[in-house]
């Protein structure tokens, strides 16, 4: 599986990650839905503080892959290690990884019956066992950071899509995650709102968060990504730095994909 090998090699060569610890390590990860194979032997390593953008046509398994990383989907073969903790059937490991990995969804998935503040403080209070006052203070600070401090008492239904997505990012950050996963965070947004979300994400990347982003925003990939991974049919086809990827892709399938979307 040459592509997979280059994935590992490229990570080492391009970002000089050998100095940093490995944050996410996947090896031979496979997953089936009935008779459909969604992931076919994914092998990749993501280093600490690295920002990886995953590209690929729809149905290529991008989302399934990052959903496996925080165990929203159960991978059936291979190994996944996040921050030194292997994702197995061990409940304690699952718990640990979930509280260290934040996730942002395409449709925001905010809890409609809780206020913005309630959405953000729910997990810190009940999972991290933080005192309520502390959790609320932290939540307000996070809202400040994503730029909507004045919306704390509102309900998600009263916010615009971009604001909702920023709340969702704040909700994920409230757990002090070591890794953030973004599953097409801007696909459900109106064009004028995409920028405000991307700005928050760029700030996050600059602050040194390890990030895996499934997106179709090529601008974001070019500007922020340390590495771009291209997937098709459940396999990693090609991986490399943005310049390399967008200017001189090696694989035909990558070229074809790029020609379709650029």
């Amino acid at each position: 599986m040459t592509a997979a090998d280059t994935a590992g090699g490229a990570a080492g060569a391009d970002t000089g990650a050998h100095a940093r610890a490995d944050m996410i390590v996947c090896e031979g990860v496979s997953k089936w839905f009935g008779d459909f194979q969604a992931l076919d032997g994914i092998t990749a390593t993501i280093a600490e503080r690295e920002v990886v953008v995953v590209l690929g046509p729809s149905g290529s398994g991008k989302s399934t892959w990052i959903r496996c990383i925080n165990h929203l989907e159960h991978h059936q073969e291979g190994r996944i290690v996040v921050d030194g903790v292997e994702l197995t059937n061990d409940l304690r490991n699952i718990e640990q990884i979930r509280s260290e990995v934040g996730m942002v969804f395409q449709q925001f998935n905010l809890f409609p019956h809780l206020t913005v503040l309630g959405n953000i403080t729910l997990a810190p209070i009940w999972v991290r066992k933080k005192p309520r006052r502390e959790a609320e203070a932290a939540a307000r600070a996070l809202l400040e950071r994503v730029g909507i401090p004045e919306q704390a008492e509102k309900y998600p239904g009263q916010l615009s899509g971009g604001q909702q997505q920023r709340v969702a990012i704040a909700r994920a950050l409230a757990m002090d995650p070591r890794v953030m996963l973004f599953d097409e965070p801007t696909s459900a947004l109106d064009p004028e709102m995409i920028k405000e979300v991307l700005d928050v994400m760029k700030g996050l990347a600059r602050s040194g968060m390890t990030m895996m982003v499934v997106t179709h925003e090529m601008g974001f990939a070019r500007e922020v990504a340390d590495r771009v991974v291209f997937m098709e049919e459940g396999q990693i086809v090609e991986t490399g730095t943005p310049e390399h990827f967008f200017t001189s892709p090696a694989e035909d399938r990558t070229k074809q994909f790029l020609s379709q979307i650029l």
């Binding site: 969804f105 729910l122 005192p131």
Partner: protein
């Protein structure tokens, strides 16, 4: 979007809507001139004209039949009037009757408080009140004309009969003359209505409203006032002797309590109103809700039942046991919720659960004796220990949990002790409740018990775990497949056979258990509908932030799912209430049984059945109809069922 004059207060924040929440008031119909309205709605085509004529005749004939039936000289409405107390509380001892009034008073006070705290019923359009008034006047006039002339009464007060045995009736003119007061009432109602309509139907003033609360309280006041003014008849027990004087106003033992209730309702409403908007509002609402939750138990088991407390037993057994569970259980919970305890806590809790289960095995095998109360106590403790880690955090939170346990356990121990203590009431029947009170008892307790069970079954049926799903589905479908009456028969006759030794339930309790198990299956289906409306994305989001399954269920899934199921759940409440009538078939002295069997076998009212049954229908109808109107309103407000 919302017409501010309709609908209760929106408890829900405007931002949260599972579907588009539309608070729609019925659209105002443009009023047509009478002639045009008639042509459009009644005579638009030859076919329609025929329909109109036929059904007008049908409607008039039906009304006439009903009136002739209700006001016929052969009707014996005294059978209902005399037996009102029997119908509602059966043979509750006369000297203890104050307990009934206290119970009613508590419910009235709670209703008033809740109205004051929550309801924002701002008003009814004056034009609509005018319409009601005109309709009432018109109907009365119609009825006065339609009803057949009254019989001529003979010297003994009975109607006179001709040679063929037919009742001799007045001439039409004489009858109309006799009904002059009715004419007057009709004219006044219609006149007032028409005047108001004139004044308020135009575009500018059609949005003038009569405030609802004064309207309701005022109408109730009028009803109460008639007790003092109109000669309903004086039926009362004087020294346990039933005294029956038809030509006086209602007895003091009737009109005084109801007047007090009316005043209490207004006072508690005012109190609730005062509490609104104050900093204590939130706490007050919690208190009122708690009071509602506890009131059925306290009222039925303590106030009405008047248990004969055996203080020696209380000091020697009940109190120590309660204290043990409160303190020991609290300590166990405090220990098990230490943040770092991890899976060890869960393992210990499972051990406790095994012990709690084993107590019943031991009871079955007769290894060691234990009070049933203690077995349930251990089970509750084990469940609490299993669930507690999900609801705890820092120290203050842990202490709050322990206090919650202590409070709940105290209440449970108190109530179980009370329910287990013999009643001091001296009633001729085995149950201290009868008539409408037993109907209410069974309905309320069935709802209380079936709710948690139904929610659990719904969760089981929507669970991802196959064995839970199979078990819940099998239970729900089996229960829904069989008629309620068979379940009630089974439980009334059989439940005590299945219970552990030394445990027995009275027939009403046994039936309530069966009814609850039955209702839970239907309730589960209603809740399931709501749970399925909670999207997969909500589950994923809760998993992604690391909530446990229990936390996800309690904080995310149930709050959203139950809200959607509220309208069908109100429907479920209505059917449960109606189905309590089946108690009559298994020989419990409920409301219907008394009307159908007991009254017709009293020597004064031998065979008088239809009057009582009609009265029962009306009472059931009022309850069920108002609940269904309420549910329709909720449905509109939540935007459910709108396409």
């Amino acid at each position: 979007m919302a017409d501010p004059h309709f609908g209760l207060e929106r408890h829900d924040p405007e931002g949260f809507s599972l579907t588009a929440a539309v608070d729609s008031a019925p659209p105002d119909e443009p009023s047509l001139p009478v002639g045009e309205w008639l042509r459009k709605n009644l005579f638009s085509s030859p076919f329609n004209t025929v329909l109109t004529l036929v059904f007008t005749v049908v409607a008039l004939a039906g009304l006439r039949g009903l009136l002739n039936f209700a006001f016929s000289e052969e009707r014996n409405w005294d059978a209902v009037r005399v037996n009102l107390r029997l119908l509602f509380t059966q043979a509750y001892p006369e000297d203890q009757y104050i307990r009934v009034w206290v119970s009613v008073g508590i419910v009235v006070a709670l209703s008033g408080l809740s109205l004051g705290l929550w309801a924002r019923l701002s008003g009814v359009p004056v034009a609509r009140v005018a319409m009601w008034s005109m309709t009432a006047g018109g109907l009365i006039a119609l009825g006065v004309v339609l009803r057949e002339p009254s019989a001529v009464s003979g010297p003994d007060g009975d109607p006179m009969r001709d040679a063929a045995g037919e009742v001799i009736r007045q001439s039409f003119g004489a009858a109309m003359g006799d009904r002059i007061w009715w004419w007057l009432a009709a004219a006044v109602l219609f006149g007032v209505g028409a005047g108001l309509w004139r004044g308020f139907e135009d575009e500018r003033r059609r949005h003038t409203y009569v405030p609802t609360i004064p309207l309701v309280f005022g109408s109730l006041g009028v009803v109460v006032a008639t007790l003092w003014l109109y000669r309903w008849g004086h039926y009362a027990f004087t020294g346990n002797e039933f005294v029956y004087e038809p030509d006086r106003t209602a007895a003091l033992s009737t009109k005084l309590p109801w007047t007090v209730m009316w005043l209490l309702l207004m006072a508690s409403w005012a109190a609730g109103r005062q509490g609104r908007g104050t900093p204590a509002e939130g706490r007050l609402k919690v208190l009122v809700n708690l009071a509602w939750l506890l009131s059925p138990f306290i009222l039925f088991w303590v106030v009405l039942r008047d248990p004969a407390i055996d203080w020696a037993h209380v000091w020697s057994t009940d109190l120590p046991m309660a204290a043990g569970f409160v303190i020991g259980g609290g300590a166990v919970l405090y220990g098990l919720t230490r943040p770092g305890i991890g899976e060890v806590g869960r393992v210990i809790a499972v051990g406790l659960l095994a012990f709690a289960g084993f107590n019943w095995v031991a009871a079955f095998a007769g290894w060691y004796p234990m009070l049933q109360k203690a077995r349930f106590g251990f089970l509750l403790l084990a469940l609490a220990a299993l669930l507690a880690p999900n609801f705890t955090g820092e120290r203050a939170q842990r202490l709050r949990l322990v206090w919650g346990w202590a409070g709940a356990m105290t209440v449970v121990q108190y109530l179980v002790t009370m329910a287990n203590t013999e009643s001091t009431l001296n009633t001729p029947t085995s149950e201290f409740l009868g008539g409408f009170s037993v109907t209410l008892f069974v309905a309320v307790f069935t709802l209380i018990f079936s709710f948690p069970l139904g929610v659990l079954l719904a969760l089981g049926r929507t669970s991802k775990l196959p064995i839970f799903r199979v078990l819940s589905t099998a239970y729900i479908e089996a229960m829904r497949g069989i008629p309620l009456i068979t379940v009630l028969f089974f439980f009334a006759n059989m439940l005590n056979l299945f219970l552990p030794q030394n445990m027995e339930l009275g027939s009403v309790a046994a039936v309530t258990v069966g009814f609850s198990l039955f209702a839970a299956a239907y309730l589960a289906e209603n809740v399931r509908g709501g749970l399925q409306a909670v999207g997969r994305s909500q589950y994923e989001a809760s998993d992604a932030v690391g909530l446990t399954t229990v936390q996800r269920t309690m904080f995310i899934v149930l709050p959203q799912g139950l809200r959607v199921s509220i309208p069908p759940l109100v429907g479920q409440v209505i059917s449960t209430f109606k189905e309590t009538s089946l108690l009559a078939v298994i020989g419990i002295f409920d409301f219907l049984f008394l009307a159908n069997r007991a009254i017709p076998s009293q020597s004064e009212f031998l065979g008088v059945k239809r009057e009582g049954l009609l009265f029962v229908s009306i009472v059931y109808w009022i309850f069920a109809f108002s609940m269904s109107k309420y549910s329709q309103r909720l449905e509109r407000r939540l935007g459910v069922g709108e396409r």
